[in-house]
């Protein structure tokens, strides 16, 4: 199914500053706190393979920031640069006010102790009980035993696994293992939690419960979360902002509702397909990739500003190209209505398509050509 980006390229680039402005206002400005993580033009290559290509990111304190991309996009490398498990070739990374490139190994270990990390395969020590696994970060940091015990039980309570304290990880389910992983990552009270595909090895139901737990902990402990995933559903469930990574470059970023409503790249649209309901079967079957004589074009419009649609609909009603709404869905993301409307238009009428695009883009929407159907 071919999709053609009709929107002018310049429209995409001018949209970025607008998003930034909105976000600052939304985040209790005027005095914006320094970001907890700041990546400036970070690059990293493995031999001739470029894993990260001038990546710049700012992650705000207290937010849940998602990084999405297909496998091989550089997500893993990117998240590992934040706790210096992966070194970088060029650029600068500042975490909690400390420039990682200026630190020696001992100082880096100090930074890492203030960053929790959870993994796709949990990475729990099989020879230690749940209690000992969760206690480990405190033990490594040389905290006194009495302090350790209360902290471990507090975290086990938070993740709902106090009764499993004496059990070895092999006896736990995947979801329980990840809860132990989360408890271990947060027991030393880090300001930042990195999540490396933490739900990718879990079934959908467990995934949801782990994501809800992360969201809760983000609220109760105020811990900033950076997560990488290849699933849009994860982003949609808990993230505040999202960056789309492709071949080591960030191709799009913004608040989740905005990226969902108005994806600006083909990759993002493709990733979104998994979370958007498909067109009705009957419509799908008639869809062609080439224009048909006397046929109609299907145009899908993503938006988050549906209150402005009345104007669009009024304009459409009077149009000579007989626009019809053939499919629509509206969801709520971060409390905003986000969705798509699919129109069919008589594309043979000159300029209809362009006019529609122009009309809709005045409402800052984006138009995607899904294909063509018989008239």
């Amino acid at each position: 199914m071919p999709t053609v980006e009709i929107m002018a390229p310049s429209a995409g680039s001018v949209a970025i500053p607008r998003i930034r402005t909105q976000q600052v206002v939304g985040r209790s400005a005027p005095q914006r706190a320094a970001p907890i993580v700041n990546l400036e033009s970070v690059s990293r290559s493995f031999g001739s393979t470029v894993a990260l290509d001038r990546v710049s990111l700012e992650i705000e304190r207290g937010e849940i920031f998602g990084i999405i991309g297909r496998s091989g996009a550089g997500k893993s490398t990117l998240i590992r640069t934040i706790n210096a498990l992966e070194r970088i070739d060029t650029g600068r990374i500042v975490v909690d006010g400390r420039d990682l490139s200026l630190l020696d190994e001992a100082e880096l270990n100090d930074v890492r102790r203030n960053i929790g990390m959870i993994f796709q395969h949990f990475n729990l020590l099989s020879t230690k009980t749940v209690f000992d696994n969760v206690e480990l970060p405190l033990k490594l940091a040389g905290r006194p035993t009495t302090e350790r015990k209360s902290a471990v039980y507090r975290l086990l309570d938070l993740v709902g696994l106090r009764d499993k304290a004496a059990v070895y990880p092999a006896k736990l389910s995947g979801g329980q293992k990840q809860r132990v992983g989360i408890a271990r990552a947060l027991v030393a009270g880090p300001a930042l939690l990195l999540s490396d595909e933490a739900t990718s090895a879990l079934d959908p139901e467990t995934t949801l419960s782990i994501l809800r737990l992360l969201k809760d902990l983000n609220g109760t402990l105020g811990v900033t979360i950076v997560l990488i995933t290849h699933e849009m559903s994860v982003i949609r469930e808990i993230c505040d902002r999202v960056a789309v990574l492709d071949h080591g470059r960030i191709v799009e970023q913004g608040p989740v509702w905005q990226v969902f409503a108005q994806p600006r790249t083909e990759l993002t649209r493709r990733l979104l397909r998994t979370v958007r309901p498909p067109l009705p079967e009957a419509l799908q079957q008639t869809l062609e990739s080439e224009p048909l004589p006397e046929g109609r074009a299907l145009l899908r419009v993503g938006s988050s500003e549906f209150d402005q649609y009345s104007a669009v609909l009024a304009a459409l009603a009077q149009s000579p190209w007989q626009a019809r709404i053939v499919h629509a869905e509206v969801d709520r993301i971060q409390g905003r209505p986000v969705g798509t409307v699919t129109f069919s238009v008589r594309y043979l009428v000159r300029d209809a398509q362009r006019t529609l695009c122009e009309l809709l883009q005045q409402q800052s929407a984006e138009v995607e050509v899904l294909g063509y159907v018989p008239g």
Binding site: N83, L85, L108, N109, D110, V111, R112, R113, I115, M117, F119, H121, N123, L124, L125, S126, T127, K128, L136, P137, K139, L140, A141, Y168, P169, A170, R184, L194
Partner: protein, 218 residues
């Protein structure tokens, strides 16, 4: 079998036990750090040192490629330097240890390599030092394999100790050669073989049991 024969057996068993026991413990003591060093200094290890890795690997290979009977005599000057004598049970412990140490180092290396890299990464992410990674993750997680490797090393040492008779170290192998072979006392030969089978079986059984009880991955 006469009481005198029985006495011979007990003495020989004792000598074998001392030779294998002491050189076994020493090879564990020296071999485990060497195995750790091999894994740590290798590419992608927690202390990448290609030069150290190559030298260490080369030295281990050199010792491992020398047949024990040759090592036994070739090391005589070193043995004299360390224990002051070149004959007897004590003298055999030096070459046995030197032969078994690189052997166990390779055994240890194998099981340490099998530790899931994700665990090491998790520890690094927690800000663990190299020593903490070794103590909290590498060694405990590899423990079943380290025990199995030690069991194999002990069994190999029991075999190698048979040659130690060449330097008058005694032991079960020496008994079999001198009495069973050279004096045609078939009962003693068969007796030695039977005792060796029992000893090896007991060592293997105990090692397997211990390794299994340490394995928490199930």
């Amino acid at each position: 079998m006469s009481p005198a024969d029985l006495q011979l057996f007990l003495t020989a068993l004792g000598e074998t036990a001392i030779m294998v026991g002491i050189s076994g413990l020493l090879s564990l003591f020296f071999g485990l750090p060497l195995g750790l060093l091999l894994v740590m200094t290798d590419k992608g290890g927690i202390w990448t040192q290609p030069a150290v890795n190559r030298v260490l690997g080369g030295a281990i290979n050199a010792f491992r490629s020398t047949p024990f009977i040759i090592l036994l005599v070739a090391l005589i000057p070193l043995t004299r330097l360390i224990v002051g004598t070149t004959i007897g049970t004590t003298a055999a412990i030096v070459p046995l240890t030197i032969a078994a140490t690189p052997y166990y180092a390779r055994m240890a290396e194998m099981s340490l390599r099998e530790v899931d890299h994700g665990l090491i990464e998790a520890l690094r992410a927690l800000g663990a030092t190299r020593w903490q990674i070794v103590r909290e993750a590498l060694v405990p997680e590899a423990l079943p394999g380290l025990v199995t490797g030690f069991t194999v090393t002990l069994v190999t040492l029991i075999g190698a100790s048979a040659m130690a008779g060449a330097v008058g170290a005694g032991g079960l192998g020496d008994l079999a050669i001198r009495y069973g072979y050279q004096r045609f006392e078939t009962t003693i030969m068969i007796g030695v073989i039977a005792v060796l089978i029992v000893v090896v079986s007991v060592v293997q059984f105990a090692g397997d049991r211990l390794a299994r009880s340490l394995d928490r991955r199930r």
